[in-house]
């Protein structure tokens, strides 16, 4: 079956976004302060971890013969090399044994087959302590750490810990949605579904709630030009819609695509429209600020696009939330 034009456009979003990421892989290098005690993980390990996660998802949802698959695998190899084949995780662990982010980043790479036995053994020792298990975290982060432990084969003593109560899990009034709640809820969905791989990981009550309220959230985030959160919400929409076979919100995707710069990158947010004329002044695309202002949105656009393209090209007749409500979920 030929994919509808909308799917082709969404697929192109993934291709151009990942091409920009590939062309700017220097921005993801760990640098010398990756092991510094006062190093800024948000500028080193966080971008690398996000790169790894998105590439894991892209590689899972594309055929081996697909150039997108090859690019994602090459970027994963790059990310693994940046960690010195995992050695840096071990060294980081010796510096900060109770920090959770090394395990979280490692778990992503481990899920794609990149393993470092000594780090896993070290992490398991620390994870056996009550202190590790009692680390205070916000609920969404805690969910992520629990998933990272599972990915690394770390088993908490029974009974299994209760899932932490999150904003999304409490089914809040949807008009109370704000930016921080948005980031939290998207990551709850990502953790519950193994980053969109397992749509069935989303409890039916949450899926129905999201099907009802994602349209106004996406609409208003796009209107506010919060591109990264819009992309994350579109990824959630793809996961929610997959079991029902609903069509993606192509109108919303068109808005996001229009915000993508010609080289494929997407800003976090912007208040000014992108330069439309070819002769417009060149943006400082190699600037570190520019990278930090674009890499996350661009990765999320690729991530959401690949999950969206994974869905069936046409919905089964008479099924899905859209039909159930007789409504039109596509934002303008």
């Amino acid at each position: 079956m030929t994919a509808p034009d909308g799917v082709t456009d969404v697929r192109r979003t993934a291709e151009t976004a990942l091409a920009w990421v590939d062309a700017h892989r220097a921005g993801f290098t760990l640098g010398e302060d990756a092991l510094a005690v006062d190093g800024e993980a948000d500028r080193s390990w966080k971008p690398l971890g996000e790169l790894a996660q998105v590439c894991v998802t892209v590689s899972r949802h594309t055929e081996r013969s697909d150039p997108l698959h090859a690019r994602a695998r090459a970027l994963l190899d790059f990310a693994w090399r940046e960690t010195e084949e995992g050695d840096l995780f071990l060294r980081l662990h010796r510096l900060e044994p109770f920090a959770t982010y090394p395990l979280e980043v490692y778990a992503t790479l481990a899920s794609a087959g990149y393993r470092h036995r000594a780090f896993e053994e070290a992490a398991a020792v620390v994870a056996r302590t009550r202190g590790w298990r009692l680390t205070e975290q916000d609920p969404t982060r805690r969910l992520g750490v629990l998933r990272a432990e599972e990915r690394c084969g770390i088993r908490r003593p029974s009974p299994a810990p209760e899932p932490p109560l999150t904003w999304l899990g409490g089914l809040p009034e949807p008009w109370t949605f704000e930016r921080d709640a948005g980031y939290a809820l998207t990551h709850v969905v990502f953790h519950l579904t193994d980053w969109g791989d397992d749509a069935a990981g989303l409890p039916p009550g949450l899926a129905a709630y999201l099907a009802d309220w994602l349209p106004p959230w996406i609409d208003t985030c796009l209107e506010a030009r919060k591109w990264d959160l819009s992309a994350e919400l579109l990824a959630v929409a793809a996961v929610v819609a997959r079991p029902a076979g609903d069509l993606p919100p192509f109108d919303a995707w068109q808005v996001l695509r229009a915000a993508q710069r010609p080289a494929g990158e997407l800003p976090l947010e912007d208040r000014d429209p992108p330069p439309e004329e070819p002769g417009a002044p060149a943006l400082p695309a190699d600037d570190e600020w520019y990278f930090l202002h674009h890499y996350h949105s661009t990765l999320m656009a690729a991530f959401a696009a690949v999950l969206t393209c994974e869905r069936p090209a046409a919905p089964p007749a008479g099924t899905g939330a859209r039909h159930r409500h007789g409504g039109r979920g596509a934002p303008r």
Binding site: W175, D212, T220, E223, H325, G326, R332
Partner: protein, 230 residues
Amino acid sequence: MEQSGTSTRLQAAVQGLASGVVSALRGGDHPHVVPAGDGAEAGDLALAAVRVLGADALLPGLVRPTPPDPAEVAVFRKAVEAYPPRPDAAPTVRWSHWGMTRALRRLDPSFLPGPSAEPDTGWLEGAGWQYLTHQLAVLAPLAVPGEECAVSALAARRPVDVARGFVRAVRRRDWRQAAGAGRWLTLLPGVPDTVGLEAGLDFVELMGGQDPLVVLQVQAARAARTGAPV
């Protein structure tokens, strides 16, 4: 400048009229929700304000057990007759006028307008949920318990979409639209419980309550929910 001044005065008259309606809905001691005009211009302004507020100008008389002041009904009737929709009027204008004639027929048995057929709803068939909600909010005076029409039937088929529109309006801080959509939601079957309508109306009133037009819609919604004065 003159037009702008007139527009400002009309807005003030509409706000004043809305405040009067709110007070009457709350059971206050404002017997005349329709302001009496003093002089020709003031009279025209009052009629125009009634026309802008539409059927809601008589809402206290429709939802409260006490009959409205005949003088109010007379002014309302003058407004209905003074501002018939033009042939090329927008659907919301035609429906708003139709809603006024419906209210008038309820309260003034001597009022026998010509054609009483409902306008059509073709412009809303297949509308996206954002536009649907916007148009329904404009036509919030049609959201009256027990008063069915083609617009309310259409809204009843789109409860989730109207609820989405309510969420969008709150997010955009468009309190008038949120209040109007919230008023419709009180009447529609099948609205997801998770929308939290009661708290939502409180929130809209809290944030937008300095605007009498917002308060009017919130009060009308509460009256619809409880079936009693609020």
